[in-house]
């Protein structure tokens, strides 16, 4: 049961990727709102930012894997990170297909998902910042 906290650098990488993804998902909502207010250019920005968001999603998956190996941390970040990219792909398809009745609610769900990844990332201990593995383990368990 006792486990050493994961290496610091992959955790930081994951945190950066997760925060970036969350900001981009939020930006998607901002751009959609701007388009609906008549901002013509916002629609193509919304479309481009969707691709960018999914790309950062892939980066997040990679970071989640690195946290696990060689980081020595838990693998629990990988599943949700993959789920995000899968849902983002569905979201892009729905958007281009103009299935707005699903596109809008899935958009809000993606924002919740992105915030969840950030929380999971912030909840990870790292070996460099935590010299007391026992305390770290306790935090980890209670996450």
């Amino acid at each position: 049961m006792m486990r050493r906290p994961p290496k610091r650098w992959p955790v930081i990488l994951f945190r950066v990727a997760a925060v970036l993804q969350a900001l981009l998902v939020l930006l998607q909502a901002v751009l959609a709102g701007r388009f609906l207010s008549g901002g013509y250019g916002a629609l193509s920005m919304h479309s481009a930012n969707a691709m960018f968001t999914a790309t950062v999603g892939l980066l997040t998956i990679a970071a989640a894997v690195l946290v696990w190996r060689p980081g020595g941390g838990p693998a629990k970040l990988i599943g949700p990170s993959v789920a995000m990219v899968v849902l983002e792909t569905v979201q892009i398809t729905l958007g281009f297909g103009r299935v707005l009745a699903l596109h809008v609610p899935l958009g809000t769900a993606l924002l919740v998902g992105a915030a969840t990844l950030v929380r999971l990332g912030m909840g990870l201990p790292t070996s460099a910042e935590d010299e007391a593995p026992v305390a770290g383990e306790r935090v980890e368990e209670s996450v």
């Binding site: 901002g39 013509y40 693998a75 629990k76 949700p80 849902l87 299935v99 609610p105 769900a109 969840t116």
Partner: protein, 525 residues
């Protein structure tokens, strides 16, 4: 992973997956709610008739009479139309008092020759002011039917804008000459009323007719003509118990207060589908090619027009023309999306059907009775007559606008705000142009929408450049003067206004939207 005990705090992976499952279940429930919810909602609300609906496919299709000129000279054909009330035989067992062009609905068809001037004198014997607009006409300001240029009835007063002041324009008493230079391609145009604030009610009562333009280019093609060239004006209507047209006007006298009751502000839909003024007509056809000039003359109803059954191999309708005349090349469709005021010239080859087949023209966006439009009864004769018509692979040399050469880009937001329909936040105010395009200059006009808005530009046809920054939709090809924008869409069109300086309008052709202020002036200079 996670070999530790179950998480107790925050959103865990399990929580995340739970949320995912919830979203999935929610999406599933939504999907079960039907494609109706997932698909694009259609505009308008049905106004139910107060008498039993007539049976379908009992009455023969009528073709509107072709108007004869009262005189012609070297350059011009002169016509005369008296706008008057007339009792029409639309329904069994009742007459319908309509507002008509010359006593019929649709009004008489005017046939012009490209390059030859047409002058139409309209006399107004109706009780209210009228304005005539030739939809798709390349027409100078004076004859375009600008809202202030009314023809007043004897003793009538001009329509006032909200606030009680008169509109800019030149109202005349009794009659007006509309001069159409007809320097334009062969196309299916139509004329209809355009009175400020009351267009929806006036057109609903019957003020609409075809105006066809022919030219040499079209005539050289081996297309079906004569009684195999059928103009079809598709319009939905509702009826009162006494057979009169039913319409939810705020002001039944159509004198002061424009618009309709709030429940119908997104459009009035009828529950009876008329084609050339006949409810669900039937028309016999030989096993030959026919040219159908489809016009959606409904106030607000959208159609997805298809043939049922489809012929073997599908692609029943081969589109050869759009609002502004021939396409460069034919486009084969299974169904055609037609928003109010859009026209589609299609060729249907009934030789693809077995003898004796009843082929229904249907509206895939309709419900119940409004799913049907009309029927064609294919001749039972076993031997198909010889067809000397064809649909050439190339129809026309269509010059394409190059959007990269546009000098100006303008953006228009079509949106409901504070109980009115607006363009760029403004309700229509005659005399206050939202754009001043230079004649001869290529421009990009962008439209962004909240709900369905079929946008119509007066003076010149345009070419659609993109829809949602992507390729054109199936209804967007060729020269257009009206394009349908679906909810939350953005489109770019390239337009060059030419020849005639002055004030013109552009507006949503959902007539209830138009009457409730979704219109704007542009002034060419």
């Amino acid at each position: 992973m996670a070999d530790g005990p179950a998480p107790k705090r925050g959103i865990s992976r399990r929580g995340f997956l739970g949320a995912g499952v919830a979203v999935g279940v929610g999406a599933g429930a939504v999907a079960l709610g039907g494609a109706k919810f997932l698909g694009t909602a259609q505009p308008g609300k049905v106004l139910a008739s107060r008498r039993p609906l007539p049976k379908a496919f009992e009455r023969p299709l009528r073709l509107p009479p072709v108007l004869k000129p009262t005189r012609t000279d070297a350059t011009t054909d002169y016509y005369e139309i008296t706008q008057k009330a007339a009792d029409l035989d639309i329904l069994p067992g009742a007459t319908t008092t309509a507002w008509t062009y010359g006593g019929s609905f649709p009004g008489p068809t005017i046939v012009s020759r490209s390059g030859r001037r047409t002058v139409v004198r309209h006399k107004n014997e109706l009780p209210r002011p009228v304005v005539v607009h030739l939809h798709g006409g390349h027409t100078p300001h004076d004859s375009d039917g600008y809202p202030g240029d009314e023809i007043l009835p004897a003793g009538g007063k001009p329509t006032m804008v909200m606030g009680g002041h008169p509109m800019p324009g030149k109202p005349v008493l009794g009659g007006r000459d509309y001069t159409y230079p007809m320097n334009q391609r062969a196309a299916t145009l139509w004329y209809h009323d355009h009175r400020m604030g009351f267009t929806g009610a006036s057109v609903w009562r019957g003020l609409a007719g075809f105006h066809l333009v022919h030219d040499d280019e079209e005539e050289r093609l081996p297309l079906p003509r004569g009684d195999r060239d059928l103009p079809l004006m598709i319009a939905d209507r509702s009826f009162e118990a006494d057979g009169s047209f039913r319409y939810p006007s705020l002001d039944r006298t159509l004198e002061h207060m424009p618009g309709v009751h709030a429940a119908h502000m997104n459009g009035v839909l009828g529950d009876v589908v008329l084609v050339n003024g006949v409810p669900w007509p039937v028309h016999p056809v030989e096993r030959l090619r026919y040219r159908l000039r489809l016009l959606n003359a409904s106030n607000a109803r959208n159609y997805r027009i298809a043939l049922d059954p489809p012929p073997p191999g599908g692609k029943a309708m081969v589109q050869i023309g759009s609002d502004g005349g021939l396409l460069a090349a034919p486009i084969a469709h299974d169904g055609i999306d037609a928003a109010p005021a859009e026209r589609f010239d299609v060729i249907v080859d009934f030789a693809r059907y077995r003898p004796g087949t009843r082929v229904r023209l249907v509206n895939l966006l309709g419900d119940g009775r409004t799913r049907e439009i009309m029927a064609f009864d294919v001749s039972p004769s076993a031997r198909a007559p010889k067809d000397d018509t064809a649909v050439p692979a190339k129809l026309s040399d269509l010059p394409l606008h190059d959007p990269a050469k546009a000098a100006v880009t303008r953006t228009f937001l079509l949106q409901k705000k504070s109980g009115g329909w607006r363009i760029n936040g403004h309700e229509y105010e005659p005399g206050r142009p939202l754009a001043r395009p230079k004649l001869g200059q290529l421009e990009i006009w962008r439209f962004v929408t909240d709900f369905h808005h079929p946008i119509h530009l007066h003076l010149d046809a345009f070419q659609v450049v993109s829809r949602n920054r992507r390729e054109l939709g199936p209804s967007d090809h060729g020269w257009k003067d009206t394009m349908d924008l679906r909810p939350a869409e953005a489109a770019e069109v390239a337009v060059r206004f030419t020849d005639y300086p002055g004030a013109f309008v552009f507006h949503c052709h959902n007539l209830e939207h138009e009457d409730m202020a979704m219109m704007a002036d542009f002034t060419t200079e």
